[in-house]
């Protein structure tokens, strides 16, 4: 498998497994944070906008 | 001398102040802007003298479109508001001297004459923070005596003035109009300009609900 002899070798990354996986973990977390925060922003906007639209239509 | 506003749209705090609003100030005319608190009186005056960007619309000065880059308005407008830019640590004379540096059209009379007109003769070397509120106000208003600018834009010029002071200012406005100048102002007083009818503009009527 690639430049590794076995799967456990791949997980351990020589002796640097902690650092490599920590880095990729950090990257993943920040990627997910970006997507989720943008999605939440979008949801919040539409919830507020629908409410406002209903309010405005209700008054007319 | 004309200032013209066309298609003015202005929104503040989710509220539309003006929409499709137009205004025309002619030579030798007094225009009084009236309206409730928050109807946009100050905002309108600030837009007129170039102190607000929060609008869309076209402003013409002497028939020439102002694009916001070069502004000939600044040579011809006197703007006096309730804050009026009087420094407490400077004396009345120093304050007026600086205002004359800023605004070259403040050249009608000498500083001493203007101070005498507003009843501050003898107070010229007192730091303004030791004057009363009304006296400080009069330091700012001394500019009206100094100014030869054709258009005056006055935001609540009569606050903190006594009856006599208001009468004097009204006479001053009348004189200015008589000489061919124009005035647009906001005030809660019943404005009486001798020998001239005041054209009112009611902002409560133009407001969009």
């Amino acid at each position: 498998m690639g430049s590794f002899t076995s799967f456990s070798d791949f997980i351990q990354m020589g002796t640097h497994g902690l650092y490599v996986w920590l880095s990729y973990g950090i990257a993943l977390v920040i990627f997910i944070y970006n997507i989720v925060s943008a999605y939440l922003l979008k949801r919040q906007f539409f919830i507020n906008a629908k409410r406002r639209l209903r309010r405005e239509q209700g008054t007319i | 001398m004309t200032l013209e506003v066309k298609n003015l749209f202005c929104e503040r705090d989710e509220r539309i102040l003006f929409s499709n609003f137009s205004l025309h100030i002619n030579t030798a005319e007094v225009v009084q802007v009236i309206g409730q608190n928050g109807s946009g009186k100050t905002t309108l005056l600030r837009i007129l003298c170039g102190l607000s960007d929060a609008y869309t619309g076209d402003i013409f000065w002497q028939g020439k479109y102002l694009d916001g880059e070069s502004d000939e308005r600044y040579h011809a407008v006197l703007y006096v508001e309730h804050l009026s830019g009087v420094k407490g640590t400077l004396t009345a004379e120093e304050n007026l001297h600086w205002m004359m540096q800023l605004d070259k059209s403040l050249n009608k009379c000498s500083i001493m004459d203007a101070l005498q007109q507003v009843g501050l003769y003898g107070f010229e070397d007192v730091p303004c923070h030791s004057l009363s509120a009304g006296q400080q106000r009069r330091v700012g208003l001394a500019r009206l005596y100094l100014s030869s600018a054709p258009l005056w834009i006055l935001d609540e010029p009569f606050t903190a003035l006594d009856k006599k002071g208001v009468g004097e200012k009204e006479a001053l406005i009348a004189n200015h109009v008589h000489e061919g100048g124009s005035v647009i102002l906001t005030t809660h007083h019943d404005l009486m300009v001798p020998g001239k009818t005041v054209r009112p503009i009611n902002l409560d009527e133009v407001a969009v609900i």
């Binding site: 498998m1 690639g2 430049s3 590794f4 791949f10 990354m13 020589g14 002796t15 640097h16 497994g17 650092y19 490599v20 920590l22 880095s23 990729y24 950090i26 990257a27 920040i30 990627f31 944070y33 970006n34 997507i35 925060s37 943008a38 999605y39 922003l41 979008k42 906007f45 539409f46 906008a49 629908k50 406002r52 639209l53 | 705090d13 960007d53 929060a54």
Partner: protein
């Protein structure tokens, strides 16, 4: 100062056009981002050879370098978009600039965190005052300033212009900051080798890096478009087309 621009430039200034075109582009960029990031990270983690000096910790390069590059170009994009907004009074440009700031800051955090993690096996400490890391830290501070200023104004129009000016001032300063930090670094820490600068990297190492860089850019484009689209809707909420978009949403 004002140069006449081609027609598409002004079309871009129309919020509806911007909303429609980004709506079309978004899925493609999303797909590209997923593919490139997956391919690049598997390639980098599994198939790229280990570095003869640093061993497998070298694989952090596939996160650290793309995030560093992206954090810098994101700032540049923010400042340029701000300048376009100031010069041509284009609201969409300000929208894009505003959307850049939080993304860029998070990517700068990623670059710093992965740099720190990489530092542990390489230098034996979680933080080293390395020139690149320090400059990235300053870049993060610049982002924080822009975000703080942007949220401090109540009036959108003035907050747009103020942040545009601040990011332009920052853009002028970035080269000076980088130069000064590098100079300071050589003065205080001579002969520390920099991990990210390899004289000759074999293709099986740098091709996955390139893939990752492209993936990061695509990802950035995706988040940027999502954020900018919401901001466009927010600012245009009184117009009829936005009301239609809102009514049709979730049906």
């Amino acid at each position: 100062m004002k140069i006449k621009m081609p027609r598409w430039f002004y079309q871009l200034a129309s919020p509806k056009w911007f909303y429609d075109i980004t709506g079309m582009l978004l899925p493609w960029f999303g797909l590209a981002a997923i593919l490139l990031l997956l391919v690049g990270s598997i390639w980098g983690l599994v198939f790229a050879p280990a570095d003869y000096q640093q061993g497998n910790s070298f694989r952090i390069i596939y996160i650290h370098v793309p995030s560093s590059i992206l954090a810098q170009s994101c700032y540049m994009m923010m400042a340029i978009a701000g300048a376009v907004g100031l010069i041509w009074k284009m609201k969409i440009a300000h929208v894009v600039a505003g959307a850049c700031a939080p993304i860029g800051a998070s990517i700068a955090v990623m670059s710093l965190a992965t740099g720190a993690v990489w530092g542990k096996p390489t230098w034996g400490a979680w933080w080293v005052w390395d020139a690149r890391l320090t400059a990235m830290l300053v870049l993060l501070f610049l982002y924080i300033g822009v975000i703080a200023l942007n949220s401090a104004f109540e009036n959108k129009a003035s907050s747009d212009k103020a942040t545009a000016i601040l990011s332009l001032v920052g853009l002028v300063n970035i080269p000076i900051i980088k130069y000064s930090v590098e100079w300071w670094n050589t003065l205080h820490q001579p002969a520390t080798f920099t991990v990210t600068e390899k004289p000759a990297m074999p293709p099986e190492m740098w091709i996955p890096l390139l893939v990752m860089v492209l993936g990061f850019y695509c990802f950035f484009a995706v988040v940027l478009m999502i954020r900018a689209r919401i901001e466009v809707l927010e600012r245009e909420k009184r117009s009829d087309w936005v009301k239609k978009v809102i009514e049709n949403y979730g049906r």
